[in-house]
Structure formats: C-alpha cells, structure tokens
Amino acid sequence: MSPVVLPAAPEGGRGSRRRGRRAGPPRGVCAVRPTRKWFRARDPVVSSFVSTRIPQTVRPGREGDVVCAVRGLTKTYPAVRGRRGVPGTPEVRATDAVDLDIRRGEIFGLLGPNGAGKSTLVRQMTGLMRPDRGSVEILGHDIVRHPERAARILAYLGQESTALDELTVSLAAETTGRLRGLDVASARAERDAVLDELGLAPLAARPLRRLSGGQRRLACFAAALVGRRPFLVLDEPTTGMDPVARRAVWAAVDRRRAEHGATVLLVTHNVIEAETVLDRVAVLDRGRVIACDTPSGLKEQVAGEVRVELVWRERAPLDVPEVAALREAAVESGRRWTLRLAPEEARAAVATVTGGDAFAALDDFTLATPSLEDVYLALGGDARGLVKA
C-alpha cells in the first residue's frame, strides 16, 4: 500500500468540494487556503452576529433602500394542555424578537431546519397571522395594522396547494390573476405568458391533483406570478422539483428582479439552494435570527475551518491511537464521521487515515470548505433537518 501524497494548496486557490472515491486505495484531493482566520465553533464572538444590522455596518457601500423592515417581531404559541392519551405541549416562542431589513431587488433568504419558525415568521409578514408584538413594514405599509394591504403588494406562495388542487393548471393561474384584480383579458394574457415562461403550457389542461409533486409546485408558482407584484414571498418554492423546473423558477425570479425590480423573500431549508440563489440570508434557529449576511459573508465566519468527512468500510479502526483521538472531535452518523478542523489539523488527520493501518478500514473521504450548514452549526444551531440537495 503506497502512501498518498497530498498536493500542496495552490496559492490563493479556492477550496472546492471534491471527493476521493475509492476503487482500490482511497485518493483524496484537498485544496485549502491556510491563510483564513481560524474560527472556532461556539466562540463567544458568535453572539455578535445576532443583530441584523451587522451586514449594513460592515458593508456600507451595498445598501439599497429597504422595502421590508421587520422590528422586534414576536409570536408565542400558547401552551396546550394535555388530554387523555395526548401529552400537552409547553408554550412555544415561534418568533422571538426578529429584526430584518430586506432591500429592493434582492433575493433574501430565511434558512433554518423544519420547526425553526420560518413559516410562522413569513405568515406574520404576509398578514396571515397577527404577531404578539413588533412591526412589519413593506413598501411603506404597516402590515401589522393593515394586514389586508399585504395582498395588494405581495404575492405569496405557501406550502399548501389545496385551494388549487382540483383546478386545471390554466384555470388556477387565470383565477388567481382575476382575484388579484386583473380583468378577464389581462388575466388570460398573463396566464399564457407565465405558463409559456415556465414550460407549463403542455400541462395547461391537466388538473393540479394529477400532476407530480414538482409539477404541482411549479403550477402554484405560476399562479403566484400572475398579476405582477413588487414583493414575492416564496415558501420553499422548489420542493420536489427536478433541476429543469428549478432553473425555470430561478430564471423567472431573476427576470422579475431585472425587469421590474421585484424583491424576493425566500424560505428554504436547503443549504445548497441558499448558497447559490440568495443575495443575503437570515439564519433562523428556534425563532431567533442567529445571523444575517451574504452567504459568502457568513461562510467567512467559519473560513478557517475545513470539513473532513470519513466513511469507514465497516467500522472505525479505534485500535489506531490517532483515529481514537480523532473520534472525540467527530460527529458520528453510522459509518460516517464528520469533523470540523483547522487546515493543519485536517491535513494531519487526512495523513493519518490515508496511511498506515487506518487506511485499510477507510472507504471514502471528503475534504471541503465550509458550507452554510457549517455556519449554522458554528452559530449554535441544530443542523439536523437542513437539506443538502
């Protein structure tokens, strides 16, 4: 068995997600930038990322005008008393003093696992739910005091399609347009344009219920776009969609942004999507905004870290002392170990597992620069429930 030589990090080279997949012995390629500042998870510094004002103050050149301002938004679900056979639930603070500023023309994301309070927050911002405290102002309108105005300035794509399920794609889009105040002719014209744009024209005569999950979602997205609105609120719009449909969604969003200056609030639990489409992202955990910045800005916070994933063939060779030492830093999930290490530590770890006795037990390993998921973990969030796809 020959030891694997790790290539030196190219100067200024950006670390990329590459994996060494093993046919015989594992081969790994790592390219990390050792010059980034070392950041340790759960460092006290973390608490300073709580304020949403951080991005504005650190990057003064990038301020646009704010189209949506949320201040001190708080919503608590009351405790539910247990009944026979049903345990009660304690009081839950679903939204906890949330502050947000969303600027004109940006795609602003709310990222967090299921149950982090994303949808509850969005429902308050769209006038569907009254907050206990705090204010929401969209394009100069107070949505807490006048929730009915929300329907006239924003389009909302919720997670449910039950209202449209039994309609055909065409009628769903047309009816939604008419209920947004369009007359018959313009509702039909916009319907046709949107269905063509999203590639839904061949499905126009099919009822939503008979479509696949992704197609149905796309049809609901089409309905949300009929009757132009300057502010789009999309709650997990691409759930279940294939890559073609996803591209259609992001192209349509971009077009509305470029041509009409539309602003988008996007709810997602998909970290890859968040990294690729969002201009800025607020990270939610248990109803609180624990960070708010651009995806790359957030990743800077953990730039000193390298994620090392090790997959063992059957089980870890704990008889190797170096491997046993690594176990303390690892998050184990079956045969997979995930470690977040400083570049030098990562280099040493990889050298350990790719040489000597440990190598025989190794199935696969990956070195990667941090993703938003790592940011989420570093900020103290519970990343179970985040999706990478």
Binding site: R130, A155, R180
Partner: protein, 276 residues
C-alpha cells in the same frame, strides 16, 4: 439610511422614518378585486372542480333520494304525505351537496392551510364564500330535477308546477350552503366539520322527508328551525291543483332570509378563519 440601534427597539414598533431610508411615501397598492368579477371567478373555478371530483358524489346524492322515495312508497299512500316525501327527497339533494359537501370542503380547506391562498389575494371575503356557495348550489340542480320528476311519476303527482324548483333550489341552496360554509369554517377540526355536515344532512333527511303529522312535537319544533323545511313546504304546496301562492312565497322568503343571514355568518367565519 438611518440605523436604529438595536437597544432602542426591543418589543416596540419602530417609528416609520427609522425603518427605511426611502424618500418616497408608501408604494402604490395593487388593485383590489371587485366583488362581482371575483365572485364569478371563484364560481367558475369551483364549478370546474365538479368535473374533476364531484360527479360521483352528485350521483350518490340523487340515488339516495330516489332510493328513499322508493322506500317510502310502501309507507305513505298518496295524497298529502306523498307530496311531502317527493318535496323532501328533492330538497335532500340540495342539503347533501350544499350543506354536507360544502361544510367538508371548507373544513378541509381551513385545516390544510388552503385558505391562505385566498387570504393573500385582495379578494372580498364575500366573493369567496358566495362563489363557493353558489357553485355548490348549482351542483344540486340536475340531481334535484331528476329526483323531483322521478318522484312525481312514482307517486302520480302533477308535473305542472315543477318550475317552482327554479326558485326553491337557489333559495334553499343559499340557506343550506351558507349554513354548510359557516359550519365548515367555524369547526375547530375538519373531522368535526364533516360530522356537523353529516348531522345537518341527516336532520334535513328525517325532518324533511317524513310527513310532519306523524312527528312528536319536539321534533316538529326542530323541523321548524331547519331552513330546508321551508323549501320543502313551498315545493310541496305546488303539487295542489290550485296552490296558495302567497304561502309558497312566504315560505320561500323565509328561505331567502335565512340564506342572507347564514351567508353573512359564513362570510364573518371566513374572515375569522383567514387571519389566525
């Protein structure tokens, strides 16, 4: 852009000028959907659902009423009682669809979050409720007519005044659909909405089809409270050779009154359910 220090804000609404550094005032609001266009859009959309999902249920409603009339043929022996049976069975189709199915529809829509779709569109609540109620009342037309014609032939009643169904269906339909929508929107859980809808229909069945003379007085009181009763009575009276049109009109206006009230309650219930 002015930045509000976070310490100033906890738990308090920020003054407007602090929240955004815009020079212009509030953005122009999009148009509001007006009542009649919105109502007709909802009506059309709801009607199209029938093609997809409701036709089997409409058959069930009709067969149920026809079956009941055949059963009752062995019990009643023509005359006044036969009229009550035919009228009751015909209005039962309206109760099945407008009350029972609409209660289920709104119950499910509310529970699944489907109301969010309408609540985030600038549409008057009355348009959603009236559009859905009108569509469900329309679903009942074929079944009611088939039942009435079949009943008239079965019990040898005159077909001359069947045109009165043109008034009975919309008015009883409005009253029962309003009731169904209100039950569906007010029920805390969808199963409860289904249950209430079923109970309402059972009440319409028992109190409408069974001739009132044979009912105990308490049940008769319940019969008087049920809006469908007045539709049944109005219809039953028209089987006379020379119907008393004033009384028919009175019965129908009770239906209309209850219809207006129950649709108003349903609209209020929709408003309440839409913003939680």
């Amino acid at each position: 852009m002015s930045v509000v220090p976070a310490e100033v804000l906890p738990g308090r609404a920020a003054p407007a000028q602090d929240t955004a550094g815009r020079g212009a005032g509030p953005a122009e609001l999009g148009p509001r959907a007006r009542l009649w266009p919105a109502l007709s859009a909802v009506y059309r959309a709801q009607l199209s659902r029938a093609r997809v999902a409701r036709i089997p249920l409409l058959f069930v409603a009709t067969f149920q009423s026809v079956g009941i009339m055949i059963l009752m043929r062995g019990v009643v022996d023509g005359g006044h009682e036969a009229r009550a049976v035919v009228a009751g069975a015909s209005v039962l189709v309206v109760a099945f669809v407008a009350l029972n199915l609409l209660a289920q529809y709104f119950g499910q829509l509310r529970a699944s979050g489907g109301l969010d779709h309408y609540a985030t569109l600038p549409v008057p609540p009355a348009a959603v409720v009236l559009g859905a109620a009108a569509a469900y009342a329309s679903f009942t037309v074929p079944g009611t007519v088939v039942t009435a014609v079949f009943g008239c032939l079965l019990f040898q009643l005159p077909l001359a005044h069947l045109w009165v169904l043109a008034a009975v269906i919309p008015l009883a339909g409005a009253a029962l659909a309003g009731l169904g929508a209100a039950l569906g929107l007010l029920a805390p859980r969808p199963e409860l909405a289904t249950l209430l809808g079923q109970l309402g229909m059972s009440a319409a069945l028992l109190l409408g089809v069974l001739p009132p003379d044979r009912l105990p007085s308490v049940v008769r009181l319940g019969r008087d409270l049920l809006p469908s009763t007045y539709g049944v009575e109005a219809f039953a009276r028209t089987f006379d050779g020379h119907p008393d049109w004033a009384v028919v009109l009175l019965d129908l206006s009770v239906c209309a009154g209850v219809g207006v009230a129950s649709l108003a309650v349903a609209t209020w219930a929709y408003r309440r359910a839409a913003v939680r």
